[in-house]
Amino acid sequence: MKDLVENILDIAKLKKVTYADIRIVRRQSEEIEVKNGKVEVLTHDDDFGFGIRILCQGAWGFACSSKVTKGEMGAVFAKALKIAKASSRIKGKEIIFPSASPIVDRYKTPISVDPFDVAPEIKLGLLLKADEILRRNKKVKISEAFMGSYKTEKTFASTEGSYIEQEIIECGAGISATAIEESEIQVRSYPNSFRGNFATRGYEWIEKLALQDRAEKIAEEAVQLLSAKPCPSKITTLILDSSQLALQIHESIGHPIELDRILGTEASYAGTSFLKPEMVGHFKYGSELINIVADATCPGGLGTFGFDDEGIKAQRVPIVSQGTLINLLTSRETAHHLKKESNGTMRADGWSRIPLIRMTNINLEPGAWTLKQMIADTEEGLFLTTNRSWSIDDKRINFQFGTEVGWEIQNGKLGEMVKNPTYTGITPKFWNSCDAIGNRDHWQLWGTPNCGKGEPGQVAHVGHGTAPARFRNVQVGVMKEQ
């Protein structure tokens, strides 16, 4: 493989391109899905290919192929070069792409048990058992259990002399119970909605989730929701559990701080950001309790890796400090807008996509409260848990979320369950209303394996560490009775 790579980089140097890199990526995925006692999905996916990125005549070109041969690499290089030269006809501002010191290194996710070494029978058994427990409750009409394992082996090499090999292993699992009665449909999931919780860990992570132990309770909650009262419509105090807060961070902090989005390159797709580079250093993003870090190094985080796809080492970077925005997610090409160097967030969805600025693990640092204290300190409000829906505008400022379940808080105690809870707000106003964050004991990493960005579409695996937190004066119950 090294010979193939060196050959292409030699050609790049001969053609006198400003910069070139090549990534060869093999990704294996295994997914298992059980529904109502039947294994509906048992699949293995093997995806292999390479992509070549070239900076030439002040413009980028990228081409890729699934045929990993010397001849095809030459043809793909020629195509990428042709594309870069054509693109130079409609250039914007001059691309500033600072050089980076060459790195020759290897990185491998530290794991105890490779999920691909565990027999499928064992995995099926685990999921079928959890599914069976869910269906013991007769009002559960759809029971589901999911498991996914992913192994990505990638080689990055550049004309600057970098040669980096990485093996990233990820896995996760989850269960959900759907209760249906007439036109009412309610879902409860564990440990999180949309297939569970994922981490850069081995099969030991799946075992630790203990799906079977939680199946009975979530089935019961799904059924209780059928007869729960609707979420009230009012402005109130809101306590979010850590999994919902993870998505709140994702949509209203993680995406807005991507510097490529801020500079407009996502304008025609999911939109830009309300932030501007000049707001760094003084914009009050949230209350003084809010400390956000982008940490690509935290053990187990789904956004944890060794090096990004531009050959920059993984970093831990403070983004919001005591409520003030102090940094953004950057790349080699964009960091100069902040007069800084890249903080290593460029990642591509496999061999067939170019790297974009992606979240790593965007974590909210823990506070001082226990959840019990937080609820006891709240006279009136709602406690919401587990995401059900999300939507945010094209500047990442007006958001609306729905969760699977909520509980009223009255005089410092959890009260009745409410169904179809929703809340809405304006990003900086919401984060500035935060007056309590859970402590280290409540802090947990959540993996988001479905973060979409870019055209052609790219899905990134990112993480969020959070503890429950409290927000004041939030509009809840946005839905009129339909």
Binding site: D46, S183, I185, S268, D393, N398, T424, K429
Partner: protein, 451 residues
């Protein structure tokens, strides 16, 4: 491109060498390019070539799927063995009847040789022309222009043999000035149908020099352009128009067939063979596409099936199987809404005070059984006052049942257009929805943008 004979031969060899009771092999090839521009400059231009084989092995009623893009004969043999070994440890699915039997497939032209004209240089020329029009009006343009050639072949051990070659291109454009933005998009199989001047003009005319005003959230009469209507239909397709959702009791159609659910001006159907859409003659199981009518003048009528959901009910597939393993159900991908009799201008004139909406942004499901969704308006939202489009308004958040909205339709335009998001996250397979503009008497807005 590997062409019909090689594609089918490759798959037949795999299927014939299989020891499984039934075997299905799908080949998808892609040769595509996508160019993105923002702030009137190209910032990304990529090209991709990929070939993928999807193998479904069936041992009695035990099924496993293996996907690979390593097509060396030894790798394909290994993948087939992997599928069979996974099927062996699988648990039987008693509801599985069989992979489909072969049937007649209509000849449909889905490829235009003109697609080869979209070289990197030619595309740059077209984008340059587009951006010149935008700049002449003092605006900036951002968007994406993509073209591709795709092959799809399906072979199974019961004799199914299907092959189709597709070309496609899509271009979407957002034009911005200091105060507002406008949108236009295009999709087709033949690049000769693309007129960049008129596309630029369509987006430019949505921009405004006026500062957007804020209107209070609440219920308004609305005019939805086809882009917005298309989004609503896509959610109905995903949530309820297919057999799996009905069988699981999670469709808004469950126990309601024959009932009038939406206004009689609303007829919605799926037709993979209608040339007004992006034709797809057969599904990913190699079965011919049948026309399926979901709402016939407001009445819930029928849903789509693949071989699995059809087998459960002793019916025949309607040709809506998606790439296996598919747990979402046979979601329709060639949606149409019947045209009406009004012109867009007449519909606007009939609004006393309302909101004109070009498109929606970041929509998501809030309550699936009632088809309640939320999202924002974007790129061309205006106040309508006494039958005239007036000043732009700040984007609004809606939270509304699509079914309730369609039960309040008071006007449907006679002109329709094909709308497409292009290709989203998975393999390239561009689809389109053909819809008119509609007028709705009462659409619920739950919030307003802060900007």
């Amino acid at each position: 491109m590997i062409e019909r004979e090689s594609a089918v031969d490759l798959l037949k060899k795999v299927v014939q060498s299989s020891s499984a009771d039934q075997t299905e092999a799908i080949l998808l090839t892609e040769d595509s390019s996508l160019t993105r521009f923002a702030g009137s400059a190209v910032h990304q231009h990529v090209a991709e070539k990929n070939l993928t084989v999807i193998l479904r092995a069936v041992l009695e009623k035990k099924i496993a799927v293996v996907t690979t893009n390593i097509l060396r004969p030894s790798s394909l043999r290994k993948s087939l063995q992997k599928a069979i070994s996974l099927a062996k440890v699988q648990h039987p699915n008693d509801e599985f009847v069989s992979l489909p039997e072969p049937e007649f497939l209509p000849e449909t032209k889905t490829f235009s040789e003109n697609i080869s004209r979209l070289t990197p240089n030619n595309k740059m020329g077209m984008i340059k022309k587009l951006l010149r029009r935008v700049k002449e009006k003092g605006c900036r343009g951002s968007g994406a222009f993509s073209n591709g050639e795709v092959e799809m072949a399906v072979v199974n051990s019961l004799g199914v043999e299907a092959y189709q070659r597709f070309s496609d291109l899509f271009l979407h454009l957002i034009v911005e000035d200091e105060k507002s933005s406008g949108y236009a998009s295009f999709v087709a199989r033949d690049p000769d149908q693309l007129d960049v001047d008129s596309l630029a003009q369509e987006a430019i005319q949505k921009t405004s020099k006026e500062e957007p005003i804020q209107v209070e959230p609440g219920e308004y009469e609305v005019i939805l352009e086809p882009y917005a209507v298309s989004e609503l239909l896509s959610f109905l397709g995903y949530l309820g128009f297919h057999a799996l959702a009905v069988q699981e009791g999670r469709s808004f159609f469950s126990n309601r067939f024959g009932e009038k659910i939406v206004d009689e001006k609303v007829t919605i159907y799926d037709d993979g063979l209608d040339p007004e859409g992006l034709q797809i003659p057969f599904d990913f199981e190699g079965i011919a596409k049948k026309r399926v009518t979901f709402f016939d003048r407001g009445v819930a009528k029928e849903v789509t099936y693949d071989s699995f959901t059809a087998g459960r009910e002793g019916k025949k597939s309607t040709g809506h199987g998606l790439i296996p393993p598919n747990t979402e159900g046979p979601i329709p991908i060639n949606l149409f809404m019947e045209r009406g009799e009004s012109s867009l201008e007449e519909m606007v004139k009939s609004v006393r005070r309302g909101v004109y909406i070009t498109r929606f942004h970041y929509t998501n499901v809030v309550e699936p059984m009632k088809a309640v969704i939320t999202g924002m308006t974007r790129d061309g939202t205006f106040l309508i006052d006494e039958g005239e489009i007036k000043e732009p308004i700040k984007n609004l958040r809606f939270t509304e049942s699509v079914l309730k909205a369609l039960s309040r339709v008071t006007g449907v335009s006679k002109n329709r257009r094909i709308c497409s998001e292009g290709t989203v996250y998975s393999r390239r397979f561009v689809t389109g929805t053909v819809v008119p503009a509609v007028k709705i008497d009462g659409f619920n807005f739950s919030g307003v943008s802060a900007l």
